[in-house]
């Protein structure tokens, strides 16, 4: 049979393809519907958080920080409850990372504050002596891309039925609603409102002035995202 295949390239290629394809079918397909169900308490991202998430991705934060707490005592002691599949239901893409040069950030919003992040992003070694993380000072000057974040909200809401503007059950039995604006202008206004609350906890005068003037520096969006990781 193999000799025959080696003389018939088309059938050879078909045989190779079948051999390599079916592992994927068996491993990936059965789990698809189940794994995309959110657990109670999982909310989609607001416009500002999503803009922050884009900044996290574009600076490849996941190159050094995981977002996956494994079910070991040493990890739950350090980072909090181990990760559940449904907690990632609205993560497109997933940001588990593959290397922990720095600590896991899955639940960083539980134990770090706006103030801490501000100082840390400006000069990591000043906050954590011995840190090898580079500083991200340009994030205090560049503005976040709210348009693209809003475009993504509209897209996931339309295509994947990501639940914006509907009630979502919370762990304590209450309901929460994450707003998606009806227009781009409204999205900007909403994001600015959220940004003002974060800027109020910050010390950098340039950032405060920028937010006062209706702008949203990258650092504000990024902190909004980091604070949402719980």
């Amino acid at each position: 049979m193999f000799h025959w295949l080696e003389k018939h390239p088309f059938f050879f290629a078909v045989a190779v393809f079948v051999t390599i394809a079916f592992a994927g079918l068996i491993e990936i397909v059965p789990n698809f519907a189940q794994a995309s169900q959110p657990v109670v308490g999982t909310k989609p991202y607001t416009t500002l958080e999503l803009a922050g998430r884009h900044i996290y991705i574009s600076n490849n934060c996941m190159g050094c920080h995981s977002q996956l707490v494994r079910p070991f005592k040493s990890e739950t002691d350090r980072y909090g409850h181990y990760s559940l599949s449904g907690e990632y239901a609205y993560d497109r893409p997933f940001l588990w990372g593959s290397k922990r040069t720095g600590p896991d950030l899955m639940r960083v919003g539980n134990y770090r504050t706006t103030d801490w992040h501000e100082n840390h992003m400006k000069d990591p070694a000043a906050v954590v002596p011995g840190s090898i993380m580079p500083a991200y000072r340009w994030m205090f000057k560049k503005d976040a891309d709210i348009d693209t974040a809003y475009a993504e909200q509209v897209t996931v809401n339309k295509v994947f039925k990501t639940p914006y503007n509907v009630e979502i059950p919370m762990v304590d039995g209450s309901k929460a609603t994450v707003k998606m604006a009806a227009t781009l202008d409204e999205a900007h206004a909403d994001a600015l409102e959220e940004a003002k609350m974060i800027a109020a906890d910050m010390k950098d005068q340039d950032v405060k002035d920028a937010v006062e003037a209706g702008k949203i520096p990258e650092i504000v969006a990024l902190i909004a995202y980091l604070n949402s990781l719980k």
């Binding site: 080696e6 050879f12 789990n31 698809f32 490849n60 995981s66 599949s85 239901a89 000072r137 475009a151």
Partner: protein, 493 residues
Amino acid sequence: MENRPLEYDYTVAKWFMLATVVLGIVGMLVGVILAWQMAFPGVNLLAGEGLAEYTNFSRLRPLHTDSVIFGFTLSGIWATWYYVGQRVLKVSMAESKFLMFLAKLHFAIYMVVVVAVVGSLLLGISTGKEYADFEWPIDIAVVVVWVIWGMSIFGLIGIRREKSLYISIWYYIATFLGIAMLYLFNNMEIPTYFASGGIGAWYHSVSMYSGTNDALVQWWYGHNAVAFGFTVPIVAMIYYFLPKESGQAVYSYKLSLLAFWGLMFVYLWAGGHHLIYSTVPDWMQTMGSVFSVVLILPSWGSAINMLLTMKGEWQQVAASPLIKFMILASTFYMFSTLEGPIQAIKSVNALAHFTDWIVGHVHDGVLGWVAFMIMAALFHMAPRVFKREIYSKSLMNTQFWIQTLGVVLYFTSMWIAGITQGMMWRAHDEFGNLAYSFIDTVAVLHPYFTIRAVGGTLYLVGMFLFAYNMYKTMTSSRRVEESELQNASPMGA
């Protein structure tokens, strides 16, 4: 006319050889910068505060991985394809104007993609998935390049004179099919600009898969991009170049059959080993773990087949630096295909995952196996495509030892770093509290990061020697006759 030997046309092979050398240096130079940044964070500001955004570790890291995988390695694969393909199918590129045009188009579009990738990654335009960082416009261009390569493969096969496909061709076909399937499925994404009616950045997209599913597809891709980029085509190379250079027939046809079909069958199952103790179902993690161990068989099958091909001819290893490169490559192949399965065992993975041990594993595979084999292939091809002898044998030997030392420093330091950090993360004191804060586990790695940076720098120095040797071979070496090109490559002192 009838009895004249075939004149093969190596135009496109030469272009890809050049791309391999240039992109190899770029990718490894960025890697060396990253290594020094981890040892001495001040290097993040190497171009000053104003350009910090473009020179810091996080922006450069995908540039390193992508330029080594999709720059250096892919160029090497294509350089060898446009050389080996013609020779084992016994047909010249010059015989078909259409295939020649396709091959040139292949190179041209690929170059455009390279420029687009470098630019977009530096600007921080990324989908966020490792080794699949490119946004949708580049993805489409990649698919075009791939389809053209596929047409080139099957076009050349279509007009072949040698009816039976040589082992290397099996592996090139598998590379083409495997990457095509994986890349397409993993990069399924929706452009937000169009879906939202024209809002935001035009190039931005959102993944079709979310969370755990996205992770599953990504590591099915990520692991097997390694399979079909770093293993399958490199095996294609060694099956051609080692017998050719040594003048020895492949040891066992049956073993090559077993290794090929075994590899095809087993490799795809092993992707789950990247997700052990994550939120994917336990049975998948176990499958990933078990199949990773099974994977030793077909991997070692090829490697042993290559080593036994040298049976009775071991003096060639001492005599020829070119054979040295290939034997070291297959040794490192055995080594890293044993190391990988060990890391995939659940209890080992609990320690090794997220640490530098994984980084060490990748690099003993890529530096020791992939890059050594690609450089050996280019050395073997150079006298045949340029009709000149290899410029300097002693320079080759020097390069070999410098780079071998570099790889050894690299993986030994990363082993120690990874295991040290993994042990410190999990250490508890007598009261059951964590023994170390995270930063303790970073500070302790400084000496190992420094040793790794030295190892990487040595390897890069070897790359420059390689580039110089190739350049001199191309331009000013002694011209050789066809009769000198039967087996062992001619080399100058």
